[in-house]
Assembly symmetry: C2
């Protein structure tokens, strides 16, 4: 698989969503600045996070599942939900993602995200620079918690027009997101790097939250989707979600730091339970196990990270993960044929599947 | 004003809401335990917070504003929203409050809440007790962030049936809540203990979030409320909200620690911008100003806290705040007459106003 840029089926949706998000921030900044300019600071901080990148992948899955049901019609509005509403929902997913990232970055104490300082780090530095009272860490994390909470509220406000079927999916995916992150945190702390736990976390955070739920929600916007359609979307989304997670894990240790936008090796320092690490533990022997035991040590040097990655390679874990990604994408693409969607939407889902596997950031 | 127990108009609503919350937690614990018992831990932690007390004041304002519009009817269902739906909305406010408290407690590093260790403190201790990896503070705060996020998602799920008018109020009040808390945090850090800032924070966190918005949302559940009705509810809620905040500030320095459920003096250590402190700064002179300058020092001893409280008294700030509470409650009660509500609902709003001013926790 070649590392290609994002397909047009993604970039077109992303452009619509970005326009919507800019309008939201313009409106909100104007509204609150008028009352008290200090209030706008929290919104500006959120706008920085949202505008600093992100693939808008979830918005694309929402759009194409909706478009797929709208069929070959020249006028997708006839499907019962306007294109503007679908863009709102896509933008809601991007705000929900910003909420999750800002909060996760506190939990992981990540220093950078999308190539910029994370909110809690930037705000801690602000307290010191302003010469304000209090502990920089406490202030930085406090502001980041609030910026995340604000993003959660805005995400939800953009869901205002959703019908009850779509809303139920939205409610459940947020609960899955928080519980998945809890399991992630707990596993890293308790050292449970077992395969099953890694799979469970990945199911919540990648398969369901990133792919299956956006698809199911998109397909429900015009009218409630049948159980058969929801299941068919899951047949595509579950394997692709696993492939997405596996690719993420590879990028987390092998990726180009500038493109990935966060320090390579942090996953290892956090002891993040990945399938990659689980395979390495299974296949490693002798000295290799001693090297892997360093996973979860926050003070791992760059050389120690490199040694662990070398064990991942020599134990065959990297190769195994790459083979699995290929198999999973093929499984997802095969499931597309069974969807009652127009050809254009099917083509888009195939392009998105390839992109998920081949991306380099 | 005598410190009385809560009125029946509050306790009856609270009992309904508590039953609803118990059912939610029972259902969710069963659902997630089946998948993985570790997931249920986060929900259990949230249930502990929600079940450990709370006056359910917001739920009562929702109920009585809805009931007020239902008029004298024996069967409130005829008003267009079922009583079960109104209870759901009341429960949603309690979950939103749990979300706000758990996150605020991280920002303020509060050790106890409602007489129990706060979530981030309890979870930090858990990491140490289990002998798990990582920094206890990081883990404790991470779990508390997630428990709060989960509560936010559940709160919203209980709003599923709300009509667009009610939902707009719900969306706005959450944005006001986060921005108000941001201003609070920022003011404490930057030492802006001025009157205007204290009033602005109090407007967001007490007047709007605790009283005006629950009333307006309750009045909108059956059908959108007219601008005149929304304004009339604000005429009652704004002064009562200020009274609520002023009472809170008094309890924060003069209250009985066991009844208030959090250490007395923490507001002073955090440098919380209160109207009480603002008045004291205005009226104090000489040595008194030097004592007040200790506000915002995290290491204030009990004796230093007592000295500051003594300045509050001798400078006349406590007396002034008590007088203002009396005036504000009278202003709120006078506004009740202008509401197009049944006599029963009017009586309930009067009882709730008295309770807000006279409570001792």
């Amino acid at each position: 698989m070649e590392a290609d840029g994002p397909p047009v089926e993604l970039t077109r949706v992303a452009a619509e969503v970005d326009t919507r998000l800019r309008r939201l921030f313009d409106d909100e900044l104007a509204r609150w600045t008028e009352l008290d300019p200090r209030l706008a600071e929290a919104i500006e901080e959120l706008a920085l996070v949202v505008n600093s990148g992100g693939k808008r992948l979830r918005a694309a899955f929402v759009y194409w599942a909706w478009r797929g049901r709208a069929g070959e019609s020249e006028n997708p509005q006839t499907a019962g939900a306007t294109a503007a509403h679908v863009t709102d929902v896509g933008a809601a997913f991007e705000l929900l993602q910003a909420f999750a990232l800002v909060h996760d970055d506190i939990m992981d104490d990540s220093a950078t995200r999308r190539g910029r300082p994370t909110v809690h780090v930037a705000q801690a530095a602000r307290l010191a620079a302003e010469g304000w009272k209090g502990e920089p860490r406490r202030f930085g994390e406090g502001v980041a918690i609030l910026v995340g909470d604000l993003s959660h509220a805005y995400a939800d406000a953009l869901m205002a027009e959703a019908n009850p079927a779509a809303r139920r999916i939205w409610d459940d995916l947020r609960i899955e997101l928080s519980l998945g992150q809890y399991l992630d945190l707990r596993s890293a702390a308790s050292g449970q790097l077992d395969w099953e736990t890694a799979r469970q976390v990945s199911t919540f955070k990648s398969a369901l939250y990133t792919i299956v739920r956006p698809l199911q929600l998109g397909a429900s916007l015009a009218a409630p989707a049948s159980p058969a359609l929801l299941a068919a979307l899951e047949d595509y989304g579950r394997p692709l979600g696993r492939a997405f997670q596996l690719k993420d894990d590879l990028l987390g240790v092998l990726g180009d730091e500038l493109q990935v936008g966060k320090p390579v090796g942090d996953d290892l320092r956090e002891g993040k339970p990945t399938e990659l690490a689980a395979i390495a533990f299974e296949r490693a022997g002798g000295d290799q196990l001693g090297i892997l035991a360093g996973i979860g040590r926050r003070d791992l040097s760059a050389a120690e990270v490199e040694a662990i990655v070398e064990v991942f390679r020599t134990a065959g874990a990297v190769e195994e993960i790459e083979a699995r990604i290929g198999d999973l994408v093929a499984e997802a693409v095969a499931a597309i044929d069974r969807l009652p969607f127009c050809e254009q939407a099917k083509g888009a889902l195939a392009a998105l599947a390839d992109y998920v596997a081949a991306r380099n950031s």
